[in-house]
């Protein structure tokens, strides 16, 4: 089931990336916040992947090319501004997508109706930090600017239609653009310019083409299960 894998992999991979902040976040409250967001996403991933097959097999035993997540979510955490920019781009998209899916009566409606309320908190968290960093010090402003620019080229892929999701993708894109623009304007930032996808590889995660940092991330995520199949504690 293509769509369950696409949405499930988005949630799983971003959950793992956010989990990498454990022990490294700038302040304790933020450590807890990022871990909580990661936990919400992991819960969503479990439900979605279970619609496509065995959740553990799908998470731990697939090769890189079998993952269908967008490339945005696999991008490394970078500095805190990079993580917030990734959160802003993705959670704004995910909230709009889940809102749409919750309105339908497709297989994702129950999960989407539940998870949209969680994602609203993720989006709010990203917005609050975008405002603080953009409207903070010169250093924080520069870092936020740099992060938004660096990740911009991965945002075009978010609106590639996913087979099996009955969503008005162009309307979703329009809504996303106006929400992100509104937050950036309030933060004293502006929408990055430049292409929404690179000529090289950006924007093919849904087809199983991933960026270089994804392989090492996957190796770390899967190695325990692969070394000790069926391990439990």
């Amino acid at each position: 089931m293509t769509a369950a894998l696409a949405l499930g992999d988005d949630a799983l991979v971003l959950s793992h990336r956010l989990g990498e902040w454990a022990g490294h976040a700038p302040v304790l409250e933020e450590e807890v916040a990022l871990a909580n967001i990661a936990l919400d996403l992991l819960g969503q991933a479990r439900v979605l992947l279970s619609l496509a097959g065995d959740e553990d097999e799908l998470a731990y035993l697939r090769e890189e090319r079998a993952f269908r997540n967008v490339q945005l979510v696999e991008q490394p955490n970078g500095d805190f501004a990079h993580t917030i920019a990734r959160q802003l781009y993705f959670s704004t998209y995910q909230e709009l997508l889940y809102e749409e899916l919750a309105r339908g009566d497709g297989p994702f409606a129950p999960l989407a109706a539940k998870a949209v309320k969680e994602v609203a908190y993720h989006r709010d968290h990203a917005e609050q930090w975008t405002l603080r960093l953009g409207d903070g010090t010169e250093e924080s402003h520069q870092r936020m600017r740099r992060a938004l620019d660096a990740l911009w080229r991965f945002t075009g892929e978010l609106f590639e239609p996913v087979e099996g999701c009955e969503v008005e993708w162009s309307a979703l894109h329009g809504a996303w653009l106006s929400r992100v623009t509104a937050v950036l304007t309030r933060a004293g930032l502006s929408l990055p310019e430049g292409p929404r996808r690179g000529a090289w590889a950006a924007g093919a995660g849904r087809q199983g083409i991933h960026t270089e940092p994804f392989g090492p991330m996957l190796a770390q995520m899967q190695h325990l299960h692969r070394s000790h199949p069926g391990a439990a504690w």
Binding site: E29, L39, Q44, V47, H125
Partner: protein
């Protein structure tokens, strides 16, 4: 989701449901599963065979497995050999499902209970200044972090008594 035609619960089902509902929440042991509003249904499918429907507060709530195990245990102890606990997502749980008694117990234990949700469903309630400090009752409290010791709580501080406290945030 296939839901059989509802029927009025039998006396046995009512008794077993009370029993399952009395299980304390593993992370908020001051409230029961019934008070938290996560127990959705209980049916006797056949003699000695019971199905329980449980809904998670948050999709990733790690307490769900413990809740299921605890429900199985109390029903086994009551003499039901076969217990199946199913997780259901629809309709989504909201903090409005917490009973008045549950809210009172949360507040008594130092956790500010959630406010009733606004009509516009979903979404974070904007920073609102009316969350009352569960320690001193002051309404002068500020948000420290939207995410606290568990996914369902936010961390606030009372400006009057200066104590930090958890707030069960609206969902």
């Amino acid at each position: 989701m296939v839901t059989p035609a509802p029927h009025a619960p039998t006396a046995l089902e009512e008794e077993l449901r009370r029993l399952a509902g009395s299980v304390p929440d593993p992370e908020l042991p001051m409230v029961s599963l019934a008070e938290l509003g996560v127990l959705r249904g209980l049916r006797v499918l056949a003699p000695g065979r019971v199905e329980v429907e449980l809904t998670p507060t948050y999709t990733g709530c790690p307490a769900v497995e413990t809740m299921a195990a605890d429900i199985e245990r109390v029903l086994h102890d009551r003499g039901v050999p076969e217990v199946e606990v199913r997780t259901v997502l629809a309709p989504p749980w909201t903090t409005d499902a917490i009973s008045a008694e549950g809210r009172r117990k949360l507040a008594e234990s130092g956790i500010a209970p959630p406010a009733p949700r606004r009509a516009a469903a979903g979404g974070p309630v904007p920073v609102e200044l009316t969350v009352r400090c569960p320690h001193c009752g002051s309404t002068e409290t500020t948000l420290l972090s939207r995410f606290s010791s568990t996914a369902c709580k936010a961390l606030r501080r009372c400006e009057t008594c200066r104590e930090p406290f958890d707030h069960f945030k609206e969902l």
